[in-house]
Symmetry: C2
Subunit: 427 residues, 2 copies
């Protein structure tokens, strides 16, 4: 392989040339083997930030990321497989409801997740508030549970696209996170390696999402949809608004409780709306002719949820952990809620203890924010706006400082904004 040099690959991309399949395969393999140094890969990543990767380059790049590890084989299951990935938002507990719901419709949902980093915990952190629940399963356990229960939410094994961990750690310290091809390949390499046959992507855009700009969110969605199809995974993306928190609850155990409400046919209307929209795409992708709403309302989705938790050792009837320090935040004046800022609520929840700053930090089960009002609500002076939950007064103090500006009160009436923005399919 001495015919290649890292400098040639870097300068080719730097100067706007497309990288050949052989060049991409060589450099990612050499990077994994340590023959291409971190400082060379970071220079290449920055060149990719500026000059992008064309669709065929990105397909090969992603294929090579997948080839760096194992790929789960779920082809032996009696049910069709379909998964969902969300780019992440405040109060986004949809996976907890969606996986058992779509399983109740007859599909198998292999939801292999990473840990949350940022304002709130990830799906695994939420489920880990249930006593006994186990995030780590073997590949055989995953296949068995998918066949038997139809839904698995567990930690993605280290064997899936392992080069992504190395690349992500490098991007994180070199200012090369915010690149659409690099984000797309990171997400899609793991989802494709997990072996799902179909995939829905919830691409969030707005103040509480990591992408604020609509055109960029649309570009990310289009890129990931093309990548999915390029690897034989039927993929559809749904752009959704993330200006306001999703649902009322933001925090690990709080979100489990709210998810159970929705699974039992109740809960906040926005959470139900988004869950059903994604579920409808998922059943459509695998050709199942069932209206998911019926599975929420007849209790069968909740029953699958209970089986899914039990199968992973969780005490599904345990009481939720309760925060020892609680406080109400009230309206300083009467008025109409002009906005509830998802980002401020998210940061408040994080400071209350619900999220982590570094991978190795613990998260609090009970900490979080309950949003008592939504955009458009009329409130009187002194009316509670938020309930803050924390494990101690020090955390409560930190959350309180952030939540102050999360609600804007005004005098004009305002309308609710749509949650579902645009469906992006293969072009």
């Amino acid at each position: 392989m001495s015919t290649w040099s890292a400098v040639d690959v870097i300068t080719a991309k730097r100067d706007g040339f497309a990288l050949s399949d052989a060049a991409i395969t060589w450099i990612l393999t050499a990077y994994v083997n340590g023959d291409v140094a971190e400082e060379q890969m970071s220079a290449l990543l920055m060149a990719i930030f500026f000059n992008g990767l064309a669709s065929n380059e990105l397909r090969t790049w992603t294929a090579q990321m997948i080839a760096s590890g194992e790929r789960l084989d779920l082809s032996g299951l009696s049910r069709p497989t379909v998964d969902k990935h969300s780019t992440g938002g405040v109060g986004d507990k949809i996976s907890l409801i969606l996986a058992p719901l779509v399983a109740a419709c007859g599909a198998a949902v292999p939801q292999l997740s990473g840990r949350g980093l940022g304002h709130t915990g990830g799906t695994l952190d939420k489920l880990e508030t249930i006593p006994g629940w186990r995030a780590t399963l073997s590949n055989d356990e995953i296949r068995d549970q998918l066949e038997r229960v139809g839904a698995v939410i567990c930690a993605a094994g280290e064997g899936l696209a392992p080069v992504d961990r190395k690349l992500y750690a490098l991007r994180d310290v070199t200012g090369t996170v915010e690149s659409i091809p690099l984000i797309s390949s990171s997400i899609m390499s793991k989802k494709i390696a997990e072996g799902t046959g179909a995939l829905v992507l919830d691409v969030k855009v707005g103040r509480g999402a990591f992408i604020k700009d609509y055109a960029r969110a649309r570009e990310l969605a289009t890129t990931m949809v093309a990548l999915g199809h390029g690897h034989g995974v039927a993929t559809v993306a749904q752009l959704t608004s993330m200006d306001e928190p999703l649902g009322r609850c933001v925090g690990n155990a709080l979100e489990v409780t709210e998810s159970v409400e929705v699974l039992r046919g109740a809960g906040p209307s926005d959470v139900r709306e988004l869950t059903l929209a994604l579920a409808r795409i998922m059943v459509e992708l695998v050709g199942i002719d069932v209206d998911p709403a019926t599975k929420l309302d007849d209790g069968s989705a909740y029953e699958v949820y209970r089986q899914m938790i039990l199968a992973q050792g969780g005490d599904v009837d345990a009481t939720s952990p309760v925060a020892s320090s609680r406080e109400l935040v009230v309206a300083a004046r009467a008025g109409v809620v002009q906005s509830v800022d998802a980002l401020s609520v998210g940061i408040a929840a994080w400071r209350l203890g619900a999220g982590r700053a570094r991978k190795e930090d613990p998260v609090s089960a009970a900490a979080g924010v309950i949003c008592l009002v939504r955009r458009g609500d009329e409130v009187s002076a002194g009316q509670p706006l938020f309930e803050l939950h924390a494990d101690d007064d020090a955390h409560l103090e930190r959350g309180r400082a952030t939540i102050a500006d999360a609600v804007v009160l005004g005098d004009e009436s305002v309308n609710a904004r749509p949650l579902l923005l645009e469906r992006v399919e293969k072009t």
Copy 2:
């Protein structure tokens, strides 16, 4: 200094923002100290490749490179100081003639040089073919020789802009060499740190130069001239053509011999023309009213050359080393020389043994190419075009393969092209 983070500095440059003086000072200091990792600096260098450095950013960046080491103080000399830097070309032996010539006019020329890397050796490699000549001088020896002889050509100490070595080694492996602000700061930091009061830059453009494009060469010249003035060094750049080799000789000892010819008032006209053009700028910059041509013709420049070599231990009357393997390359047909390709001649000289591929490689004293024809010359079939010199037949063989295409013969007559292209001054 915990208020700064490398990622913030990288993403600011990546996103097109100007870096503050404090940010630049912090990141270069932290890089020297090892607090900013190589992979972070390479990402920043690639972002600078794309988004550049504005003149005030570049001034601070260069100032910080200078501040990473010592700055020679030449203010105590009785003569004004003026130096020259060339961006490098095939057969470029101008420094060997220019330094003693300008000293003979009454200035002091502190020519502190690096080692050559690429097709031919650097100025130090050429002078080291003189038995006994010593490249390394102490700062006191430099000052003493400048006062006494007026000219020093020696190795730049490791104390001058030491961060440049670290940055250059990183750029070399990360595809970030070809950036005008990074090239400019690398060259100018060392020239400013060497303590010269004035500077002429010979910026070469053409097939045998590292910059092929005129507009880019002009941008490099303008950038370096501004940087010099920003640090109090009166700087003028001369753009010169590097399509054909400069003079007849390419190779270390061969170039010393040719330089002595010019110092004695003879030698190839292009070498004399360029040397005098640069010398006139240099004496003008320091306000000396002497025509340098008189100092070549009356033997005084040669006398300073002899003193300069003797002062550094060189046996100025020693015979030049002679190559043991020599060969003539002859014209395959009669015709007019349409071009002599500097790059091919340079590579041939390198393969014959005159240049090095890696810093630690030795160079041959005697190896090289003598060009027997120039663009526009009429030749008959079988007439010698080049003389190849090497230390053994294996090297001769390698050089022969490269030289074949260096001359293009045709039937139309062609004119010589101008050597001096444009003078670039402070705007």
